[in-house]
Amino acid sequence: MRNILLTPLLILGLTGAVWITGFAVADETKGLAIAQERKARDAGWGDSESRTTMVLRNAKGDESQREIRTAALEVQGDGDKGLTIFDEPRDVRGTAFLNHSHPTAEDDQWLYLPAVKRVKRIASRNKSGPFMGSEFAYEDLSSFEIEKYRFSYLRDESCNDQLCFVLEQVPADEFSGYSKTVVWVDQQHYRLHKAEYYDRKNTLLKTLTLHDYQLYLDKYWRPHKLSMVNHQTGKSTDLLIHQISFNTGRTTADFDTNALQRVR
């Protein structure tokens, strides 16, 4: 009697368990596949340069601006390299930030300080602090690498009049400021439209939205406005990207520490 009752329940339970784990595996597989496709679609851009204005706002609506120039170099088989030159505020003009990102190892970061004419390595595992006092952390701006996250596909959802994949990304780095990020990637071009950052207590911290995508070299989509809103403090930062140019002729030599001191 007991068996007759229990067996169907057991079968039901087992099927359920298999179904749930199977589902989860499928989610992770699908998530990874989408992330890989996103990475693949953006491969081969080579190098680029751009000029950016950062607009910082506090909860009251006061604004403050920063001007930066950035150069980026795609590296096959490793993370990309980036160079950021600060133009405004004036007292940090000429300060240059060089980063070599790595998929699994810690990124290398240097700063050239013109006031003392020295290159200093930033020996910190912290990548989660505010970049120039903005709502962007270094880790929000560093290059997108598959190995930095564990992905899972959540659902399809429309975003900005198109259909998007919604993925969850859990950072591999224990020093990340986030417990997870939820991203919206459109299904046509695999462009990032929105990202929600959750802090370490798993509360929504910030939302990034990306606007004004334009096509370069007939293949690479780049946003021209990135808005980050901090839900906990009411502060926000806009990145306004004015110009992007590709094939600027920069090489690896332009992205090493010796080159840093020559940057203008």
Partner: protein, 766 residues
């Protein structure tokens, strides 16, 4: 007119009761909208200048709402493997606190070091597994030499440490947010207490204070109201000796309270530490009305009246006195609207409305109830026995009038002289009784880390990136050093320390470079580099504003009174303005807000006191129909408060927000005694008796009633003394003292005064 109305009430008691029920249900429906607010902001109006400054500072920099967890190991040494591991574990766990945006401790202090051309920025204690003697010694050396840590997060002897959790509440349901946040911290420390039984934990900070405000208010509601209820029932049983009429009184009280709370809810008033005691006060005041009505009914019944005429007799005797005494009480409470503190105004309005409702109910619903209930004469002791006590008192006063008058006058003058011993003092922490958890935590941390009071200064350079200018940093440094030299200051947290430390790090940790960078560019670039090395939540946004034109500097203060705080604020701002006229400075903090509100509130309450006095005296003139009697009443009306505050000067000497309103509210209550006494006295004089006979008549006819109502009121306000919230317990105690003093004056001084100065053989009708 009065006859007509009373006749109707007695003829249709069920209609009156039904009408009451409908009205009460309507009024009480607002009770659902009542909610608790346990937040120190309830003490301030939205346009309070100190609150505005405080909020502006919070907007410009990150919020400074916090929970401070004090950690005191029994072995008195933080710097060993066990206790450092504990600090690290709690620090990590503290990041899970709801709404937390930042956690500061000695373990996650961002220690900067030069290593060749690297700038090494890392947690002072990253991995407890690596702790050995050398590492512990290293951590101890760094922590105890670090100006931003020592005396703020760790004591100089390393015996006590603290973890500061900064939270940013969304302020959608603030009370719940405070309870969630505090509840988490309490659970955290409870768990760690079990794992580390030799370590004591303390919870302090703004969130703990807000939690205590709410918790103590709810605690008052849960304990004081039931206690008061029991006291009322006991008193009724004692005074009326009839279950039925006691029930009727309880019904009137309950209906008064629910209606008042309902109206308050509908008006958008919330419950707070002040308004939560409105039910207790109302019970006290309403019971007096009912006792007067019922006692007269019982008296008439015992004289053989039938019930209907007994009620009529009672109404005729009590209608006017009940109205006048309720009106004076309401006026006293209504003057609280002139208070600078919104919740005190709420307390005043709610009580005033409640008192008038109680008045209305005791002359409509109460007679209707008595008409339908089986009321018996009551087992009141024979009247003459009571009268002999009062008669003896009257004889005593008449016999000893020559002695009583100067003796009482002297006593009044002497006690009133002690008023000068009082001084206004509002320290939010001291609002809580020493036995409360919050006060214990604050007192402990104050003793070791000066954690209970602080003052934030914002220094404006006047231009973007101005905080990087060496001249400005020098000014900040100068000011923070001046602050640190003041005896009131325990610790100063200043951005200038960061600049000096970075300058040293940038020069291979050479101690000679522990000074302000020489150029603005250097300072700005060091800061940029440092900021890029900091982890999430430990940035400089709490010290620097958006465009780096201003910096916030925090001075931890030793415990001091509110006068000293405002004095210190002025002195500090004057010093800065004198030294650096090119820059702007402003100050804000919760301690400062309470210090200012205490003084301003006292000033406004002192200004409204004459208004209350004039209004109430005019009402007396009207009810006694005599300017002369109105004038005479001034003395016994003013003297009790003067004596009460004199006694307070001897007993405590500290006047807080709760006490600043006592003079006004007690005035409204104590005039009742005077009115009753003078009315009877006047009545006898009009009948042609001399002063002596009139005094005797007054004693005999209202002496007992005055004695009883005073007892009820004194006991009722004494119940408030059980509150662990000093605003309430002090208010209850002093009000009880003043009410009792009023009776003594009305019995011993007023008659002697009348015997001496009201000597005309007979008076003409006014």
């Amino acid at each position: 007119m009065r006859q007509l109305w009373l006749g109707w009430v007695l003829k249709h008691p069920w209609w009156v009761l039904l009408g009451t029920l409908v009205l009460v249900l309507l009024m009480s429906s607002g009770m659902g909208k009542l909610y608790f607010r346990g937040d120190f902001r309830v003490f301030f109006t939205a346009d309070n200048p100190q609150l505005l400054m405080f909020e502006q500072m919070q907007d410009e920099f990150n919020k400074s709402d916090n929970i401070l967890i004090g950690i005191a190991p029994a072995d008195g040494q933080i710097f060993n493997t066990t206790n450092l591991t504990l600090v690290k574990q709690i620090t990590d766990a503290a990041w899970q606190t709801p709404y937390s945006i930042r956690v500061d401790s000695i373990s996650n202090f961002q220690h900067t070091q030069a290593d060749a051309d690297d700038l090494l920025v890392a947690d002072l204690l990253l991995d407890p597994a690596q702790l050995d003697e050398a590492k512990i010694a290293d951590i101890r050396r760094v922590a105890l030499a670090e100006p931003t840590l020592v005396k703020r997060l760790v004591t100089a002897d390393g015996a006590v440490t603290a973890i500061n959790i900064t939270v940013q509440l969304p302020e959608l349901d603030k009370n719940k947010e405070v309870f969630d946040t505090f509840g988490f911290a309490r659970q955290l420390t409870d768990e760690f207490s079990q794992r580390y039984p030799d370590v004591r934990f303390y919870l302090a900070g703004v969130i703990a204070m807000n939690h205590s405000f709410a918790y103590e208010a709810e605690h008052d509601a849960r304990t004081l109201i039931p206690v008061m209820f029991v006291v009322i029932v006991l008193m009724l049983a004692l005074l009326l000796r009839s279950v039925v009429v006691a029930m009727a009184t309880v019904i009137i009280i309950v209906v008064t309270i629910t209606s008042t709370l309902g109206l308050a809810g509908a008006a958008g008033i919330f419950l707070s530490t002040a308004t939560v005691n409105v039910p207790t006060i109302l019970m006290t005041l309403a019971v007096a009305d009912c006792v007067h009505v019922i006692a007269s009914v019982q008296f008439a019944l015992s004289r053989g009246h039938d019930k209907q005429s007994a009620i009529e007799y009672s109404m005729q005797r009590n209608l006017m006195p009940i109205f006048i005494t309720s009106a004076t009480t309401a006026i006293g409470f209504l003057t609280l609207n002139f208070s600078e503190v919104p919740i005190l105004a709420d307390l005043g309005n709610m009580t005033a409305v409640g008192v008038m409702l109680a008045c209305l109910l005791s002359v409509t619903t109460l007679p209707a109830l008595l008409a339908v209930l089986p009321v018996k004469p009551g087992k009141v002791k024979p009247q003459h026995q009571q009268d002999t006590v009062m008669d003896k008192l009257a004889s005593f006063v008449i016999l000893r009038q020559r002695l009583l008058l100067p003796a009482m006058a002297l006593l009044m003058i002497v006690f009133a002289g002690f008023i000068s011993l009082n001084k206004v003092n509002d320290e939010a922490v001291k609002y809580f009784a020493p036995a409360t958890d919050f006060r214990q935590a604050m007192d402990f941390l104050d003793q070791h880390l000066a954690a209970s009071m602080s003052m934030d200064f914002v220094l404006h350079s006047g231009q973007s990136s101005g905080v990087n200018q060496p001249e400005f940093i020098a000014a900040v440094e100068n000011f923070s050093q001046w602050l640190a030299e003041q005896p009131q200051v325990a610790h100063v947290n200043s951005i200038s320390e960061v600049f000096k430390r970075l300058n040293k790090n940038m020069h291979a940790d050479d101690p000679a470079f522990y000074r302000i960078p020489q150029t603005q560019d250097e300072a700005a670039q060091y800061l940029l580099m440092y900021e890029m090395s900091l982890p999430y939540g430990l940035d400089l946004n709490n010290q620097l504003n958006l465009d780096k034109s201003a910096t916030r500097l925090t001075a931890a203060l030793r415990n001091m009174g509110s006068k000293e705080i405002t004095g210190f604020e002025q002195k500090a701002l004057q010093y800065f303005a004198g030294q650096f006229p090119q820059y702007q400075a402003s100050a804000a903090s919760t301690a400062l807000m309470f210090a200012h509100i205490g003084e301003r509130n006292m000033a406004s309450m002192l200004q409204t006191l004459p208004l209350a006095l004039v209004l109430i005296s005019l009402l007396l003139v009207f009810s006694l129909r005599s300017w002369r009697m109105g004038l005479i009443s001034l003395l016994p009306n003013i003297a009790p408060a003067a004596i009460g505050f004199g006694i307070w000067g001897l007993y405590s000497g500290e006047i807080n927000l709760g006490l600043s309103v006592v003079a006004s509210i007690s005035l409204g209550i104590i005039v009742d005694d005077t009115v009753h006494f003078l009315a009877k006295y006047q009545h006898a004089r009009h009948e042609g008796r001399n002063a002596e006979a009139a005094v005797r008549y007054a004693f005999n006819s209202v002496g007992r009633a005055l004695w009883i109502t005073t007892a009820v009121l004194v006991i009722g306000f004494s119940v408030l003394m059980l509150s662990s919230f000093r605003l309430n317990s002090d208010m209850g105690l002093l009000t009880a003292i003043i009410i009792f003093t009023a009776l003594v004056i009305d019995f011993l001084f007023l008659p002697a005064f009348l015997l001496k100065f009201d000597t005309k053989e007979s008076q003409h009708h006014a």
